[in-house]
Amino acid sequence: MYSGAACQARGPYFLKTQTSNPFPESERSNMQRREFMLKSSFALAAMATSDLWLSRIVAGETPSTKLPILDTYFQVSKAEMDRLLAACLARGADFADLFFEYTVSSILSFEEDTVKSARRGIVQGVGIRAIKGDQVGFAFSEDLTMESMMQAAQAAAAIANDKNARIKAKAIGEISTRNLYPIGELATTTDLNKKLAHIQQANTAAKAYSPKIIRVTCSFTDEVKYLAYANSDGVSWQDMQPLFLFGTTCIAEDGTQRQTGYDAGGGRIGLEYFAKKRDAAAVAKEAARLAVLNLGAQEAEAGPQTVVLGNADSGILLHEAVGHGLEADFNYKKLANYSGRVGQKVASELCTIVDEGLFENMRGTINVDDEGNAPSQTVLIENGTLRGYMNDRISAKQLGVKNTGNGRRESYNYAPMPRMTNTYMLAGKSDPEEIIKSVERGIYAKRFSGGSVDITKGDFNFAVTESYLIENGKITAPLKGVTLIGNGPDVMTKVTMVGNDLKFTDGGWTCGKNGQSVPVGMGIPTVKVSEITVGGTKTKA
């Protein structure tokens, strides 16, 4: 999982949008097949606070207004969609779907007290899929002419090779979805000068934080996706998915030493984020604080240590150590270490872990998944016992279980697969201060830049950007260059205390899997893990 532009574990210099090398740069890292997550200044952010619990219930009651997206952006009639679906089924596929997307994106980059560049783009296309059993034929087209779309439908249909269709598509009827992302002022269509005002506020705040701050970079990244969908089961829906991220990067200098700090905020929300949740200055100050803090950070000791994970961002533990391993595609293929273990104890009894795409305005929230199913509250692990997996259409059929509405895709360029939405651990009973006090010597890890996992063996890692030494129950010196590494199923049994302070992230987390990136949210209370291997530069004296 990541909150940045990297798409596989390619290293921090890889920008997803740069394609100077025609070869998939992911070849090498694909061999690792690490599902991952990363946070950096290029991504869109998750937003969350504890009051979202309440918002969810309210949001659930709000019906969405029917949007004329199909007519406005695609000008494709129901009769034409019927013909395309029929073409997909013509060679014996048992299911087909059409995914129309029109995405408007905008980026403002601000550096050296000025807007360095303004960017805006429109990407449109249709992704067409035919399924037979668990075999998938897929094609997309950026030309929305009937001729091009029909070619794509025929290419997708080729996954099956019968002479005739086996089934007919059902009549298309639109389903209504909830509106889990009510918007005050949509970032992508607002006056650029309004965004600029927030950026300037952040720039001023970061510079004022400390004379050690020598460079401030702000970026305002936003998009709105207009989506229309139809499948051969007769299900169709339309959705407007907004997403924005405001991020600040600071460089601090002290003598010859330099350090960097980054923070971001946003979600499926409009500019009202700044008034409702955090203002731009608060985001910038946090970035400045991290940069200055790390100037004084000392080297960490390598080896197994007791680790206290702070609330919110440490949700990365759930995402890597548990989440990916519980995506059902890996499990019906028996590829994950959690395969066939439903009902077994896989974590400490203190752990109850849930995936839920229903929190209002949160980054991983969806009104409907990319196959037409409502997202749900999916209990993955309950008091340490594995309860189930996250499913899409294919995996649910293969496993003979309920579809949990986790079928997601990056864009019309890709077919959907089981993905996380907002993944979190329920609060426990411990006072966070008591958790710190209980540690004689260890590490308190609070913020992270990214992580990855090998879902077959379960080994995960994550890179820490804010951590401290714990000595005699007290948080002391900040540490630098810390990576945590462990085995998911092993580490989850070593969770010995869970705090009462569940919090969701407000950082920009994006999850990468098989080359596709999707925005996700996560949350966790303060958690104590009795032992994780710490990657540091010092060896024990």
Binding site: S20, S117, R119, V136, F462, A463, G536
Partner: protein, 449 residues
């Protein structure tokens, strides 16, 4: 495939007419075929043609970019207008602009970017190769119990760039790859690993059988992996990992990182940043190189640049903006997609071959780690601090023994590069466009049990 030279020059002309000081248009088209076979069955079949167009404008020293996948006249015209509108919010920056005219051009030497034979390769044959590779891997050893998928991927693309200084360039390219991912199992422990082959030319790919067998060998070799104690030891860096290290150095030597002071190589020009055994080159003009190209993303003619020579930092790598900021010349390293503004990217980036025999390098280590992969996000380019997850094999008395997993490798990249005491003679671009020979580093810190 359509020729978009005319479209590109028309947009440039339209921008000029509407009052642009300068502009460029960058168009990419791509036709892809992609299939995955798992346990003998076709799991995925994907075929698509995609395209994108980005237009970059300079006006009063400010810049803006718009992009689209819709090439219709109406869409393009409205974007031209939009670009002229949004540039008003951008601030003036005297370093903005196209690449200086004297650097523009197309490298005329032999690059071998396009393989005609790819177009003649039937989809059935591609599926068959994937099947063959997977079958060879599964038959290799009975401990191979499952497969994560074997994928064939190929792409035929064309890039077109035109700017208001009269540069018009275009080149087609092809690529193909075959990758196998298998699961090995023993004593209820599963391990996964894989192998791949890629090339611009289909007939230069390794055989399907050899790729499948190598994937099996790698998955099996990880069985029985364990942690080792935390300690500081010599490490031998596999070629796959050397390519990663050189990528980090390149990123830190990027002009964009330097002027932002977000690099550990700030103020290091002309200084020792690595062992004198280390020379690092980026060469866009290699015949048959996976990263070769005739010009960069701003139209700067391709050339070769020495980044590090005998351990001394010789050049920062620059696009035209960072070159102007640093009062240097653009090195032909501008990289972009149609959706992005130019940044800095590598082409064929490598550590030059040394003279050591890789086997002898392993034999020289009494007790240490042979590193086959580094993963995670624990590299900080501002400080050069490295703290990554690692896999490999333990070296005992000069021999590879058991597989090592769930450990970390940490150190500062400058220190690690200075601690290189032997450089192998086995450089190859078979693994990626960033490459290096086997390296021996005298000391790094392992975090383990």
């Amino acid at each position: 495939m359509q020729d978009y030279k005319n479209l590109a020059t028309e947009i440039v002309a339209e921008f000029k007419k509407q009052g642009a000081d300068a502009c460029d248009v960058y168009i990419t088209t791509n036709s892809q075929f992609n299939t995955t076979v798992r346990l003998g069955q076709v799991e995925r079949l994907q075929q698509s043609i995609s395209k994108g167009l980005g237009m970059r404008l300079f006006k009063n020293n400010a810049t803006a970019l718009t992009y689209t996948t819709d090439f219709t006249d109406r869409s393009v015209k409205s974007l031209v207008k939009e670009t002229l509108e949004i540039v008003k919010v951008s601030g003036a920056d005297k370093f903005n602009g196209l690449a200086p005219k004297e650097y523009l051009g197309t490298y005329e030497g032999r690059l071998m970017l396009f393989d005609d034979a790819l177009a003649r390769l039937a989809p059935e044959r591609k599926i068959e190769m994937a099947r063959e590779a997977e079958a060879a891997g599964r038959a290799f050893d009975k401990r191979i119990t499952n497969a994560r998928g074997t994928s064939w991927f190929d792409s035929t693309g064309q890039l077109t760039l035109a700017n208001s200084d009269g540069f018009v360039g275009q080149y087609p390219s092809t690529s193909a790859s075959l990758s196998v991912q298998l699961v090995a199992e023993e004593n209820d422990i599963k391990q996964t690993d894989g192998w791949y082959t890629f090339n611009r030319y289909v007939n230069k790919l390794d055989s399907a059988k050899s790729v499948g067998e190598e994937a099996a060998r790698r998955a099996i070799s990880k069985l029985g992996g364990k942690k080792v104690k935390s300690q500081s030891v010599p490490v031998v860096i596999d070629r796959l990992v050397a390519g990663q290290l050189v990528g980090w150095v390149f990123g830190a030597a990027s002009g964009r990182s330097i002027f932002r002071k977000s690099s550990f190589l700030v103020d290091q020009m002309g200084k020792d940043i690595a062992s004198q055994l280390v020379t690092i080159v980026d060469d866009a003009t290699m015949a048959d190189g996976p990263g070769s190209r005739p010009f960069d993303a701003e139209g700067v003619k391709s050339s070769q640049v020495t980044v590090v020579e005998n351990g001394i930092l010789k050049n920062y790598v620059c696009d035209s903006y960072s070159a102007r900021r640093l009062n240097l010349r653009p090195t032909g390293n501008a990289a972009r997609s149609y959706q992005s503004l130019p940044g800095v990217g590598s082409t064929n980036l490598y550590i030059k071959n040394g003279t050591s025999d890789p086997q002898a390098m392993i034999r020289s280590v009494k007790s240490g780690l042979y590193v086959t992969s580094l993963f995670g996000f624990g590299f900080n380019g501002v400080t050069g601090d490295v703290s990554q997850g690692a896999n490999g094999f333990w070296i005992e008395n000069g021999e590879l023994t058991y597989p090592v997993q769930e450990i970390t490798l940490a150190g500062n990249l400058t220190k690690l590069m200075k601690n290189i005491t032997a450089v192998g003679n086995d450089l190859s671009f078979k693994f990626g466009s960033s490459a290096g020979p086997t390296l021996l580093i005298s000391e790094a810190t392992i975090g383990g049990a």
